[in-house]
């Protein structure tokens, strides 16, 4: 076991973790943040996407011990004072959610993109979410939702 300190959704934690644990396991099992989804476990699908120090990462491809000192945002961290984030609201309004499994990762990729580039072109949106696969609805509604979310 090793001890690590990290910040998740603005809250500081000191945790005892197993050496072979991934960041994904830490978030789901130690902190109960079940909005972080496990999909392919090999960095292809993006369902486990979280924002780590301002950048999107696949949490299945980060060892938990490597997250020492980092600041992580999961989908649960987007809510502010009981209100969901404008990008989440846009996903609802546009109907960009079907089964919902890709949605947390998709929204976090969109958020990281908009934080860096508040007014992306459609091409840049497509590039920004290119590491997140949706197998239900296709990407048009998702792109519309990000477009809608960017103005807010």
């Amino acid at each position: 076991m090793v001890e690590i300190k990290l910040k998740v959704n603005g809250k500081s934690y000191i945790l005892e973790i197993e050496e072979d644990m991934r960041l994904l396991d830490l978030l789901r099992e130690k902190l109960g943040l079940l909005g972080v989804k496990e999909g392919c476990s090999e960095g292809e699908c993006g369902a486990c996407t979280v924002i780590m120090d301002g950048k999107v990462v696949n949490s299945c491809l980060v060892m938990a011990f490597q997250a020492e000192g980092s600041s992580i945002t999961t989908i649960e961290g987007l809510e502010k004072e009981g209100e969901i984030h404008p990008i989440q609201q846009a996903f609802i309004e546009v109907g960009a959610v079907q089964c919902g499994y890709c949605t947390p990762g998709m929204i976090l990729s969109a958020k990281a993109l908009l934080d860096k580039n508040p007014n992306p072109t459609e091409e840049e949106i497509r590039e920004g979410i290119s590491g997140n696969l949706c197998r239900c609805t296709g990407y048009n509604k998702i792109i519309q939702a990000v477009e809608k979310g960017k103005g807010v």
Partner: protein, 285 residues
């Protein structure tokens, strides 16, 4: 399993000498291999937070990229916007934003994949790798590293990859064939470093390929063919034939050869054409 988070290069090479562990940086390949049992290790040594290994340094004549520098850092660095654009383009085709934010140039080298996207441009630049162990530092040519079967010793750490800055008139280009736009492993890739003389003849040409052999490599026979010639449509078509001949001998009997033999034409022309376009400001073919 033991896990160490290295804070300095010195600490990491001591740990490597003691435990012969596996170095982890971005982890985007290593974690998959550990989990599916392709790789076993009792000790992981993380280098991803060592600042010295995570930066690009420009000197008068050379550029030094720390081994734990991520693809995103390279893409965002203004050094790679102009005549070194081919390296940026190659790094930009790696995986996805998530992978590029974590994956590192040193990892691309250490992993030894024939499809590693960043390697062909680095081969065109005659890059060298700097390695360090408790016995000291050592440098090897990137090309020799591959020819010599991925020759990093168990107790060695890749510190950086270095190359001489190309002259302003030399343009580095890159083209890749993947099966889709994002998250695609290269089916084949070509990088070129091109310079023309005042008569439009090829003054400098370096060509490197990815996935056209057991490892990424230079294509000296094609380089030799093009040197001193003008890049007309006819000359370029002939150069494609030379490359097809070379790869045919190398990949003989492989089921992917007939496909790659045809596909290589467009990728080779895209890389070379991109260089020409950047040199002359016009689209040639």
């Amino acid at each position: 399993m033991q896990a160490y988070r290295g804070k300095t290069i010195e600490e990491v090479i001591q740990l490597l000498a003691k435990y012969k562990g596996k170095v982890i940086a971005g982890g985007t390949d290593l974690i998959i291999d550990l989990r599916n049992g392709k790789l076993t290790s009792d000790t992981l040594i993380d280098i991803s937070s060592i600042e010295e290994l995570r930066r690009v340094e420009e000197y008068d004549e050379t550029i030094n990229i720390g081994a734990a520098t991520t693809f995103t850092q390279i893409i965002e660095n203004p050094l790679f916007q102009e005549n070194l654009y081919g390296l940026k383009r190659a790094c930009n085709t790696v995986g996805s934003p998530q992978i590029r934010n974590k994956g590192t140039i040193g990892g691309n080298i250490a992993n030894g994949s024939p499809a590693a996207d960043s390697i062909p441009p680095l081969l065109c630049l005659d890059s060298i790798i700097v390695l360090e162990s408790i016995k000291g530092k050592r440098e090897i040519g990137l090309e020799d590293y591959y020819k010599d079967n991925i020759s990093i010793k168990e107790d060695e750490l890749i510190i950086s990859v270095q190359f001489k800055k190309p002259d302003k008139g030399q343009i580095l280009s890159f083209a890749k064939l993947g099966l889709r736009k994002a998250l695609a492993i290269s089916r084949l890739s070509i990088a070129t470093l091109l310079e023309l003389d005042e008569n439009n003849k090829v003054k400098t040409i370096k060509i490197a390929s990815g996935s056209l052999g057991r490892y990424p490599m230079r294509e000296p026979i094609v380089e030799e063919f093009l040197l001193g010639r003008e890049l007309t449509v006819d000359v370029t078509d002939k150069a494609v034939k030379v490359l097809q001949q070379v790869m045919g001998e190398r990949l003989g009997g492989r089921s992917t050869l007939p496909y790659k033999r045809i596909a290589v034409e467009r990728i080779f022309k895209e890389a070379l054409g991109d260089g020409l376009k950047r040199l002359k400001g016009v689209e040639i073919w």
